[in-house]
């Protein structure tokens, strides 16, 4: 009886396992393999070159640009996303009416096709006739170049990404706040704690797992930034002077425009290592239980 059931189990798993093996696991191994070889699609010779591809990207000014930019996106985007997301979630919990309406409103960008949104934002940012500069003009601010200017372009894109994911963060924070047992607030309220003290000593510590999840999720999003950058700076990929270039866009340009598969694969291995490190860090944080 047990053996028969095990046979069924293997039969059920055969298809999906084959897919995971063929579509995820083997290609991941293959990416590692390619990163250690000189890999040209047209030439049949694919000699082993050790870490040469890694050395090549590490001495490539553009890769460093991409890596530091990616870090800059992370540093600019995550705190903004966290503070705005938590702020909106706290405001939403205060109000009684229209809560669902506002939650839905803020969530809309998250389900929107990024490509379409990117083009809309690109026009919002247009220096000469974009609505943002018109708004600046009405309130008496000087016009800005936004995506055309190396110092601004990255932050202009980061703002769009924050816009896109804010609703997701709000929903996650709302769920996290709901999970905090109300007795804590009641007890502290009896002790005479004010709103800030409640937030500082109860909400923040008990919300820690949600905060960690939110930071980790955000980090992975920013590390893999691509669609927004490609579509908002389409004419000159990577923006003015490569100021918006990300690691994934670097992979795309190396691999699929120049067909330098070896260095491109090496860059993805570096990306994988970064994501792995963040995920492992998250697991450590989560395995530490919150003591009530």
């Amino acid at each position: 009886m047990g053996a028969r059931r095990a046979l069924w189990a293997y039969a059920f798993l055969a298809g999906p396992l084959l897919f995971f093996l063929a579509i995820r696991i083997l290609p991941a191994a293959s990416a590692l393999f390619i990163s250690l070889h000189r890999w040209n699609i047209i030439s049949p010779e694919k000699p082993f070159v050790g870490l040469a591809n890694f050395r090549e990207i590490l001495s490539d000014r553009l890769f460093w640009k991409a890596a530091t930019n990616t870090l800059r996106y992370l540093i600019a985007g995550i705190p903004a996303q966290l503070i705005l997301g938590l702020g909106i979630a706290l405001l939403l919990r205060r109000i009684v009416r229209f809560r669902g309406f506002f939650r839905t409103l803020y969530f809309i960008p998250f389900v929107t096709p990024i490509v379409a949104a990117a083009w809309v934002w690109q026009w919002l940012y247009t220096p000469t006739f974009g609505p943002l500069n018109r708004l600046f003009d009405t309130v008496g601010l000087p016009p800005q170049a936004f995506l055309r200017r190396p110092e601004q372009a990255l932050y202009a894109i980061a703002a769009m990404v924050v816009w896109e994911y804010i609703g997701f963060q709000v929903v996650i924070f709302l769920a996290g706040l709901d999970a905090i047992p109300p007795v804590f607030y009641e007890a502290a309220g009896v002790d005479g704690a004010n709103g800030w003290e409640l937030f500082r000593h109860i909400t923040l510590p008990l919300l820690n797992p949600t905060l960690v999840f939110s930071v980790v999720y955000g980090s992975i999003i920013y590390l893999q930034l691509f669609t927004q950058v490609l579509n908002m700076t389409f004419g000159d990929q990577g923006g003015p002077l490569g100021s918006t270039l990300t690691v994934v866009l670097y992979v795309y340009i190396q691999g699929f425009q120049r067909f330098h598969m070896g260095p491109a694969a090496a860059a993805t291995v570096v990306l994988f290592a970064a994501i792995l490190a963040i995920t492992l860090l998250q697991m450590r944080f989560f395995s530490r239980q919150v003591e009530y």
Partner: protein, 292 residues
Amino acid sequence: MATRVAAEMRVARGAAGQTLFPRRALGNTLAYVALAAGGLLIVFPFVWMLATSLKGPREIFELHFWPQVPTLDNFRRVLTTTQFPRWFFNSFVIAAVTTGSVAFFDSLTGYTLAKLRFPGRQVIFIVILSTLMIPTEMLVIPWYTMSVRLGWIDTYWGIMFPGLTSAFGVFLMRQFMTGVPDELLDAARIDGLSEFGLFARIALPLVRPAVAALCIFTFLGNWNAFIWPLIVIQTPAMRTLPVGIALFSGEAGSAWHLIMAASSLAVLPVLAVFIILQRQIIEGVVLTGLRG
């Protein structure tokens, strides 16, 4: 089970809200004002995109926000002079097939891993789960070389094979399938139901909300997918909606009225689906996000 937890959360939230904020009246008004202002910022790009898509080519660079002479001509031109209808169809086929495949294989795999005892169960689960850490960017290079070799470039199969299973879906379904009572399955087994019948007729209906959430996310994810379709598609007729809009917009240059009409056409169906299913989608984010 989920509804009971939700109900408890609602009670908890109400109680916390009352003790948290003693000075309600003024604070509440400010909360509404802040949320409404934020909401306006969030929807501005959409409203503005729609407004622009209704403007004639002369009117688009003029100052006023709303079109003086609204016209549907931009939509007509997008639908007749570009391959937009075909891209829409391509996206729909790909999103529908991958959603069907993920719904079936992931719930079957999740059920098997949660409810059947067999050697290797844990190992298989860990192997599938670990693929979650591999970023898509790392896989696209091997997928591409594989697709070139096997002639999958520019085919529906080539576009959708990476999306046919999802490790995240397996994880999600296993979590929910664990809650299916063993007694129920054993009783049905005694009544002579086959092992597959147990899955399809007993377990699957019990986790229907989770399957629905998984379907919505898979559909949205594949509908909006960009990087892999961009790489594997070569002819304009095979483009998916995001790739079509990105490349069409790149080619159309400054034809902003057409780009805005195309973006509106891409966004509207997604928004319509979201508005109809918003409760399931937002609750799905909570369920899936916090369990991940």
